[in-house]
Symmetry: C2
């Protein structure tokens, strides 16, 4: 936990943003999540909004903030002797309330009565338990308590959601230091991955080494590690294959620090330590897009425009390689890049690796005058907003050759005759390449987070891998 | 997955045990469990009962077995093109049904109609999603769909629960081989822990190394790792302390193999590599209890009697150390050992580390003519049954000095004057010792699982630690 002044200031700022609203704001911390049976749970992870406003990293807490009177109450139960045998001496609820500067405490089950007859503002719930709990407390169908996907917040309070997003989008200096720390650990984890790539090893062995580092130094990984020679499968969590010569290994992984801030880097390595000609051409393009995007980042620039600039450059290069034909600017507008990069350029990052995604993607990532594109690729862009100092975003262009998708476009004529399908067939077993850094928007530009940047230029990657292989 | 004949045979055996029952048996596999937001989930873990009867290690599957006609149906949805971009080409539901020998398939949402008007037998649910799902499918309060704690199965089907327990309690040769494999990995992980104990290191660093091994070679840990210099706190999951000289480090940890079978070992190490006199006396007692219990294990012996024999021996030694006074047999009957060992001697182990705990502790661990004791210690015994060949159990005596508990007994006179509280005060910062092996009941006795036994005799532990410290 940080000093209590941090939490007091955040809640004060929240109240100010909600001035004039009636009723009570309700915050639910998480409870333990059973993995198998009730007492064998997944590793404890507190709710991120709870951590932000209250910091108490223990299960079964709730809080209310009265938007009219400003009164704050923490709801939780003290431990009894049986708990102490199993869990050890625990701080009292009163002492934890003091640590986050909340004046009143009450038993967890007093929450129901406190909400009776009041207008209740709540945030969308992600955990199934909290969906049930909100449903029971507020007489709602649990399905109505989660965010309504990209669009909005179902029965949750849009006013509260917007106020929270407004605060969490701009990271405090304290938070930036935490993210720098998470990136330092991410650097260590990725370095182990790069050194672990040896022909014949099973992917899982490398993942285990990486995740061991995340657990030795931080809370663990900030999301399930992607380490795959099938980079064209975005969320490939199978690690059963042996490392094969001539392949590209996509490593997309991050550490969550003990303070629960995320890092999220991606690198793509030639399994034998040097690129083939075909691999290097595509790699060079992705690398240029990453650099181009970073160089555009500054306050006031819409990240949607950065995405479009990056994919325009990508199309230009792909045209030179003979994979597409036509006017580059037109192809960009028509979304042809989506065939090669069906995801967005980046997302917000903080206490969540896709920061605040449970609050609704569009409310988090889009300014009110921006609408989300239906196109493949741009439509998956999670952060389109005009950048502000203190935003933390990822810069992660990629190029993939996904046979099922290419065949679909060919069948349906989606490209309007601009894709060279014959040439593309040579790439059906290419896989994919993605290169990702974490970027802070500064008052006059941008800074890549973490103490050191992972090797990324193609010559640099080959040089470091050849040295490590000796 | 095993060969389909394995799953066909298990379901056939289940049907035979349920001969004469009306209605339909319903099995729900797990869905993904959000850790933060909906798309950032904990590592995928299938439901153990589902794995046992169907083996399909993918989310969002369900199945019905008609207890009258024997008809079997698998409910799941095939992937669409959008899923394939993110998840890669996936086997069809039909091909997965073939792999576990199920004849019919239907969409996931067809489940509701299939259950209409039928008597539905279901197993207690542990995951919150499945509680909601069962609640919605069957018109029940989600709270009624989980097991009723130690006692029984709430609205779940006791007939189905008993049939499943009867099968899973006796491990097949195939399963025993899997548990031996998990124990081999557990041996590696524990060896890393022992070697990692060095004065000044933070406990978390050792835990990270251990868990890295569990992830490199298996699914991960079979439960959250306990590694603590406060062994008197049973479920101590804080790993923030530096290793200090003169302490005892309790390491209770297991690996879940890629086939999802558990290991569960505990060792207790002197942080400096050699025991103090006081530590060695208590350690020797726990070691003797572990050996005594193992030597009693054979078919027909009630594990409750093994627990009682072990704690009787413990009391005898504690009497010689001057910590208790009185007739040892009487003290055993009166539950005085519970002050020192407030937990049971062991539990079943298999696909779950506390095997089938979600089906109800007493139904799993107690024969119909056995009742659970209310005493501290014996009351926590999870496996009391008469042993059968093929049972896999843990043998894990321990001695702890828990100041809050000792003070409570002293205040309330729980011991009837038989505890030497003055002498006990010298042990208030002792911590605890637990020594645990995994044991298979064989036709003529018992075998410790895994290829090698972790060093356990006090001389052996000191010798190996001194060698490793050089």
């Amino acid at each position: 936990m940080f000093d209590k002044e941090v939490y007091i200031a955040r809640r004060k700022a929240l109240l100010e943003r909600l001035a004039g609203q009636k009723g009570i704001a309700l915050f639910l911390g998480n409870v333990e999540a059973p993995a198998q049976y009730k007492d064998n749970c997944y590793k404890w992870r507190q709710d991120s909004n709870w951590l932000y406003f209250f910091g108490i990293d223990e299960p079964r807490f709730a809080a209310t903030v009265d938007l009219e009177s400003g009164e704050e109450t923490l709801y939780a139960d003290d431990f009894e002797i049986d708990d102490i045998i199993w869990m050890g001496p625990m701080p009292t609820v009163r002492s934890l309330a003091d640590r986050c500067g909340v004046a009143k405490t009450a038993p967890y089950d007093a929450l129901g009565a406190a909400l009776k007859g009041r207008q209740v503002h709540f945030l969308p719930a992600s955990r199934y338990y909290n969906r049930m709990k909100l449903g029971a407390l507020l007489g709602l169908d649990p399905a109505e308590t989660t965010s309504a996907g990209k669009a909005g917040c179902a029965k949750a309070s849009e006013a509260l959601v917007r106020a929270v997003i407004g605060l969490r989008l701009v990271k405090e200096p304290l938070e930036i230091a935490c993210i720098d720390d998470a990136c330092a650990l991410g650097y260590e984890m990725h370095t182990a991955a790069r050194r672990g790539i040896r022909i014949g090893r099973i992917e899982q062995e490398i993942v285990g080494e990486m995740e061991g580092i995340s657990l030795a130094k931080g809370w663990g990984t900030s999301f399930p590690t992607i380490l795959t020679q099938h980079g064209e499968i975005f969320h490939c969590h199978s690690h059963a294959l042996p490392v094969e010569p001539g392949k590209l290994m996509v490593v997309d992984a991050g550490v969550e620090s003990n303070e629960h801030y995320a890092s999220d880097f991606t690198r793509t390595y030639p399994t034998t330590g040097s690129f083939t000609r075909m691999q290097r051409d595509i790699y060079q393009t992705v690398y240029e897009c990453n650099e181009l995007a970073f160089n555009m980042v500054r306050p006031g620039v819409a990240y949607r425009d950065v995405h479009l600039a990056a994919v325009t450059h990508m199309l230009d290069n792909l045209k030179q390689l003979g994979l597409v034909n036509g006017d580059v600017a037109e192809m960009a507008v028509d979304g042809i890049a989506g065939l090669f990069m069906p995801h967005g350029l980046g997302h917000n990052m903080g206490l969540d690796v896709h920061d605040m995604e449970d609050l609704g993607e569009n409310l988090v990532g889009y300014d009110d005058d921006q609408t989300r594109s239906p196109q493949l690729g741009l439509g998956s862009l999670r952060m389109a907003r005009r950048l502000q100092p203190g935003n933390v975003i990822t810069d992660e262009p990629g190029i993939y050759f996904i046979p099922a998708l290419i065949e679909q476009w060919k069948r349906e004529g989606t490209d309007g005759g601009r894709v060279n399908y014959t040439r593309l067939e040579q790439y059906y077993d290419f896989g994919g390449i993605r290169l990702e850094d974490d970027v802070l928007v500064t008052p006059d530009g941008a800074r890549r987070l973490g103490p050191k940047r992972l090797p990324i230029a193609p010559d640099e990657v080959e040089a470091v891998m050849q040295k490590e292989n000796q």
